[in-house]
Structures are given as structure tokens and as C-alpha cells.
Symmetry: C2
Subunit: 225 residues, 2 copies
DNA sequence: ACAAAAGTGTTAAGAATACACCCATGT
DNA sequence: ACATGGGTGTATTCTTAACACTTTTGT
């Protein structure tokens, strides 16, 4: 096929899609319909063929296998490439993994969809391949991105309260933060600005609504943490 | 070749090999002997075939095309994977890039070697493909690794003076550091320990020789910078 | 009036920065 | 004696961390 009898490895793309659901960091999984690992949950992934970029493959796979509208992902980032010699029964494969972040990601049912579902990171089912390790890696990357970039914006609506923002940080960092110190830090980072709107959602004082100054990934001048 | 007529993209591995030469961060380049970019300098790279891990391909390519003994690399790290649709004249390719660090890396001449040479980062020749951008990316990664890991060990001998250590930091961070603050910081980081040896190399007070506490990559408890 | 979440300031400890002189050696 | 790089301490500023009460609303 290629010159000199060169045969490339199989190339696959696996995707770690995160969103916050009810204040918990959650990841998108599908249930495998075929061997290997039939009936076991796995990250949505698939082949990447010649002529298709890995990012395009990511989008196609998410749309067809998981029913996710990729235009709703506010941030995507390549994580790592794994060699899978002698692990994947289909032979030598290289898998490129991507992370995607969004807010209110909906799963659209279709014929090609393979039982997609979001699971809390704290409550994952048994996973195929080494996908558990890949999710752990993605989570660590997300944690560190949070501390030196404005990446949180991708997990929130355009308008949000500082409490909602803090909840997202806490869900990802897996620890409680001090409310006063958190607000002080966020405001000095120049990450957000006050809109003069309020959110009234219960029997308590209404909360100020904020917006992000940027809706694109940037490095922060100082660390958050 | 594969089931369902699946044709994978070409997979290549490109390598950014750094070492410090005369106090300057330097990168390994080869001169391309064939089109495309014949006669132009490039990162040493090549095909990765089915059955060969990308790391194995890295080693093979460095040995054959650049005459580098890969066992002398004290640290290797995968950087990123680039899609090269419509950029590489050979068709759609995916390139996985690795960074390698060492000290006193020698180039061994052989028949297969393609004019390998180390160039100072501050004085690079014209480069093929987007290899300039890849080197920039690697340099940034190295800078940030330096601040939160013990990665410097890979660029120094086992025994070294604090001035040599500082010189390496300065070469990579591209800025001068305060000698007293640097030493204070390094010692509190618990990165190195004093051997009771001295290095006498000129008409001045002999310098204490230090060793790293660990010769494997670790995260630091606090940031260096 | 009570419940529930929003909002707000001060103090203490630790980390980062700025800065200048003496020391040990070879020639 | 002098030239060369090695080695050392303090004061200031900034950052982080710890900590509890008042405000605004709905019921």
C-alpha cells in the first residue's frame, strides 16, 4: 500500500469528555457492543483513517457512537498517545487521547449510539482496556490546567455565581476551598467580572452573576492554587 | 490489509534531543538527504511501523540517522502528536514527537547517519516542515518541567557544582538568576546533597560537588521558580 | 422568626525578591 | 598582590492560610 512495504500501525482516538453534573465531575462512557470487552464500559473511541485528522476523528466518533454534539464542547485538548502493542487483540495500535470539556452536554439518541452515559468520577464502573488509567491521567491534567489557565470557563455557563465557580473548582480538585480566600483569589486573578445581574434561586439572598473575561484558553499570570 | 478496508495514516516519530553545550541549550538536527526539504535541516525522525512501539522507533531513528546512543539519554518524554494532513507531500501523516535529554551526548559516525549536528537554540538554521514550532513547544515544555520536577538531573553529570546547576537553569529559562536566592531555593527543595568532594578547576576557590538525590523524574513538593 | 445561601476583612506565617561583600585558590 | 569564581545573610514585599459573623431573601 505504501512505498517499501511500509505498514503503519492501527491508529485510534479515545476521548475523555468531562462535564460537571450536580456538582460532580463526570465522564462520558459507552458500553461496548462488540468483543473485545463486549458489555464493558469504555471511553468512546474508534479508528482514525488516512486523510482524517485525529481531531476530526474525535468529532465523528463522539457524534456517531456517543450522540454528543461536539460544537457544545467549549474546550478540547490532546492528552497523550499510548502504544498498545500486544494489548489490543486487534494487533499493534497507537491510540491518541483527547480531553473535551463542556456544560450541559446532552446525549442524542440514534441508531449508531452505543449506550452512552455520564458517570461520576467517584463512581466509575469496570472499564475496558486501561481506560481507568487514561481517565486518571485526564483528571490530573485537568487539575493542573485549572491552576495555571482559565480553563474552568469551559465547564460553566456564560453567567454564573462565585459559589457555582467554587463548586467546580472543588469538584475537580477534590477538596474544599475557603470561600473568602477563593473569592479574593479569583477576583485578583482578573478571571471574571461582575455583571450587574443577580440570580435568585431559593429562600436566600440573591447571588451576583459573573462572566469570564475570556472564553478562550489562556495562561494566568499567576497560579490559582 | 486491515478489516473493512481500513487504511491507517502514516505514522512518524520526530525527536527533539536537547543537551547543554558550553552553557547553551542545544538541539540535535540532521540535514535531510532526500526530498522533500532536501538539504534543509530537520529534527531526526522517521516512520513507525506496525509492531514497533513509538519509543522503539525513537531509539532506532536516533541510532541510525543521528548516531546517538539512546542509552545515554537520561530522560525521554512524549511531547505531542501532530496531524500533518496536506503538509507532508507523502500524504496524510500523524507525527508523534518525543523529547530526550542527556549530557555529553556524542554523535557516532556511520553510513546511515545524515549529517547530525547540535545547534544552539539561539542560533538555529532554517528548518524543514514546522520543526521550528515543534522545537519551541519542546523548549516551553522543558521550561515548565524544570519548575515543578527534578528534570534538570538529566542535563548534568552525576557530580556538579551549584554554579553548573544554575547555568543549566539559566540556559533553559533564558534569564539570569540571583546566586544567593538560587542556592537557598535549591537547598530547601531537597533536590541535591553535598558530597564532600571539591572541584578545583582554575585560579579560584574550589567548588563543592553535589549529587542529585534522585536520578529519576519526580515532582517537586514546591515549585522551583 | 427562622432557614438558607450570599457576602465580607484581618491577622499571622511563609515565600519571593533585592542586594554586596569576604573566601580560597593559581599565577 | 591580584584576578577569578565560590560562597554567604538580612530586610522587604507579596502570597497564602486560617478564621466567624452579618446580609438578604422566601416561607
Amino acid at each position: 500500500m505504501y512505498e517499501n512495504g511500509y505498514v503503519p500501525p492501527i491508529l485510534t482516538v479515545d476521548n475523555v469528555i468531562f462535564q460537571i453534573i450536580d456538582g460532580h465531575l463526570s465522564v462520558l462512557l459507552i458500553k461496548r457492543s462488540q468483543e473485545p470487552f463486549k458489555g464493558i464500559y469504555a471511553l468512546p473511541g474508534g479508528y482514525c483513517a488516512a486523510g482524517e485528522t485525529t481531531r476530526a476523528a474525535m468529532g465523528r466518533i463522539l457524534e456517531t457512537k456517543a450522540g454528543i454534539d461536539v460544537t457544545k464542547l467549549k474546550l478540547t485538548e490532546q492528552l497523550y498517545s499510548f502504544d498498545t502493542v500486544a494489548r489490543d487483540p486487534r494487533g499493534h495500535a497507537v491510540s491518541i487521547t483527547y480531553m473535551g470539556l463542556g456544560k450541559d452536554l446532552m446525549i442524542h439518541d440514534s441508531e449508531t449510539v452505543q449506550s452512552p452515559e455520564f458517570f461520576r468520577l467517584s463512581d466509575l464502573p469496570k472499564l475496558a482496556y486501561d481506560h481507568k488509567a487514561i481517565i486518571k491521567y485526564a483528571h490530573e491534567r485537568l487539575q493542573s490546567k485549572l491552576s495555571y489557565t482559565n480553563a474552568v470557563f469551559a465547564l460553566l455557563d456564560q453567567f454564573f455565581t462565585l459559589t457555582q465557580l467554587q463548586t467546580v473548582y472543588e469538584a475537580i480538585l477534590c477538596r474544599r476551598l475557603d470561600k473568602r480566600n477563593f473569592r479574593k483569589k479569583i477576583l485578583t486573578l482578573d478571571l471574571v467580572h461582575d455583571t450587574n445581574e443577580r440570580l435568585q434561586d431559593g429562600a436566600h439572598r440573591p447571588a451576583r452573576l459573573f462572566r469570564f473575561n475570556k472564553q478562550a484558553l489562556e495562561s494566568l499570570s499567576r497560579n490559582f492554587d
